[in-house]
């Protein structure tokens, strides 16, 4: 295939378009309307953040000041995790709609997939940097002057800023790549594929629990999780990202456009 693509005046085929141009076209399809993927998540996140902050303020006011609230009371907030779940939805939805559109516009399946992964990568970076900025402000203001943790809650509170950013990036990549895989199943086999996929996933999880339990290995699993630093665990998760992304491509390669 490469030989054909790089010979400009072959007897067959049309003049090849450079890869960069083809990928740019895919990015343009995704970015044509950036509201849902880039802007809307921030509107909702800031709304959730504002509401949480208001409630914290309310509690602090009722308690007679932030310093009179139990220590660490505002540290455990999972509000920000919604963005990661939302990214799974974004990945599935983006691929469901843009795959058909892009192919009708003569984009090849492989270019579409590579470009889409690139787009997901950009989303992961942009959102991670955005969250980092807020996490830095959070720390600089002593937790919004109330010892509150919204952008870097739970175990993230004690981690250095670059580590926090890294965890965000991996989290987004994990959400987007598993979303891309699920979308691949959907595009390739429609709803039947998803039934099989989720059934398989369920069986695999239960089988894992069985194996670990019957071989009395919970101690090992636990010591691995507690003995491994959070960044190292995140790096292990990149393996899942790579496998999901690769499997997604295998699915897309032969996926039909349904009308």
């Amino acid at each position: 295939m490469t030989a054909i693509e790089t010979s400009p005046a072959a007897a067959v085929g049309y003049p090849a378009t450079p890869l960069a141009h083809r990928l740019r076209a895919v990015l343009r399809i995704h970015f044509a309307n950036p509201f849902m993927t880039l802007i809307q998540p921030w509107l909702i996140t800031l709304l959730i953040f504002g509401v949480n902050l208001a409630i914290y303020g309310l509690i602090a006011y009722a308690a007679g000041g932030a310093d009179r609230v139990e220590e660490g009371a505002f540290q455990n907030n999972g509000g920000v995790s919604w963005v990661f779940v939302f990214m799974i939805v974004i990945a599935v939805q983006a691929m469901h709609f843009t795959f058909r559109f892009a192919l009708g516009m003569s984009v090849a399946r492989r270019d579409y997939y590579v470009g889409t992964l690139g787009y997901f990568g950009i989303l992961a970076l942009v959102h991670s940097l955005g969250l980092t900025v807020f996490a830095v402000i959070e720390r600089a203001t002593g937790g919004w002057w109330m010892d509150a943790a919204f952008f870097a809650p739970l175990g993230l509170a004690g981690q250095p800023v670059p580590v926090v950013t890294y965890l965000y990036v991996v989290g987004f990549l994990l959400a987007l790549s598993t979303g891309a895989f699920a979308a691949g199943v959907w595009v390739r086999w429609a709803s039947n594929g998803l039934y099989v996929y989720f059934a398989t996933l369920l069986v695999a999880v239960v089988a894992f629990l069985w194996v670990v339990t019957t071989s009395h290995a919970w101690g090992d699993v636990w010591s691995f999780l507690t003995g491994t630093s959070i960044p190292t665990l995140a790096t292990w998760a990149l393996l899942v990202v790579a496998v999901s992304a690769g499997a997604g491509f295998a699915l897309i390669r032969r996926a039909p456009v349904r009308s």
């Binding site: 067959v12 049309y14 343009r28 399809i29 044509a32 983006a94 709609f97």
Partner: protein, 295 residues
Amino acid sequence: MTAVLEAHGLTKRFKDVTALADVSFSIDGPGVYGVLGRNGAGKTTLMNLLTGQDFPTSGTARLAGLDPATGSHAFGAIAFIKESQAYPEGYKGRHVLKAASGIFPRWDDAYAAQLIEDFGAPLDRHMKKLSRGQRSAVGAVVALASRAEVTLLDEPYAGLDAVARQLFYDRLLTDFAEHPRVILMSTHLIDEAADLFQRVLVIDKGRLVIDQDADELRGAAVRLVGPAAQVDRLVGSREVLHRETLGGTAAVTVDGADDAFKAEAVAAGLELAPVSLQQLIVRRTGVQSTEEISA
């Protein structure tokens, strides 16, 4: 020379339904080609295979000699506009045009702007909120302004009114004259679009039943009207597509009428009338019929 579009034994089965059966043809150069057939005949399936949207069960589809479903060679060379096109979430007309302008190397912004005005295509409303006609208008703009080497149009004017359809035909022919390319259009409004086509492919129940030059096809059938005995004698063993009788007068649609036959009919004093492309295709793909009309 490599054909622009080529199908060889192209077959597509969906479970136990054969949507397309052993279709072979070749399109070698620029022209406006019609893909005609009844609903469910296999027109969309054929176009899906020719553009690599789907994979054939057997046989091959080729775009400029290469498989349209693998590799990136078709990028910017082929535009497939279909009535059932799904648009990405949140897309407005202008997003569609923006995406298209980044793909087609011969995309013409000024021409697109002109077409948008002509068709009244709404650009600032969400695609999924548009009426069928408005969506078709956006599709028509993309189809024409992309000036792709190969443009496939699957029922491109669904929901467009007669004025807009005529406008579309006019713009198509004008732009084709200036920028010759392969345009393959499916339709069931045969008579309306008949003058556009230089060649027609008729698909019936998944099979390619007619692949012929449009002018030849138009001349291939005639309607003879005259005294029944005289008409029958002249028709002889020729294939009769349709026959009506009224008292002693017969009106017969005959296939495969050559010039000698026509001259003979005129000499015999019979009335000779052309048969429209639509009539011919309806007759050829429908059941052979005989009608007795009582006064």
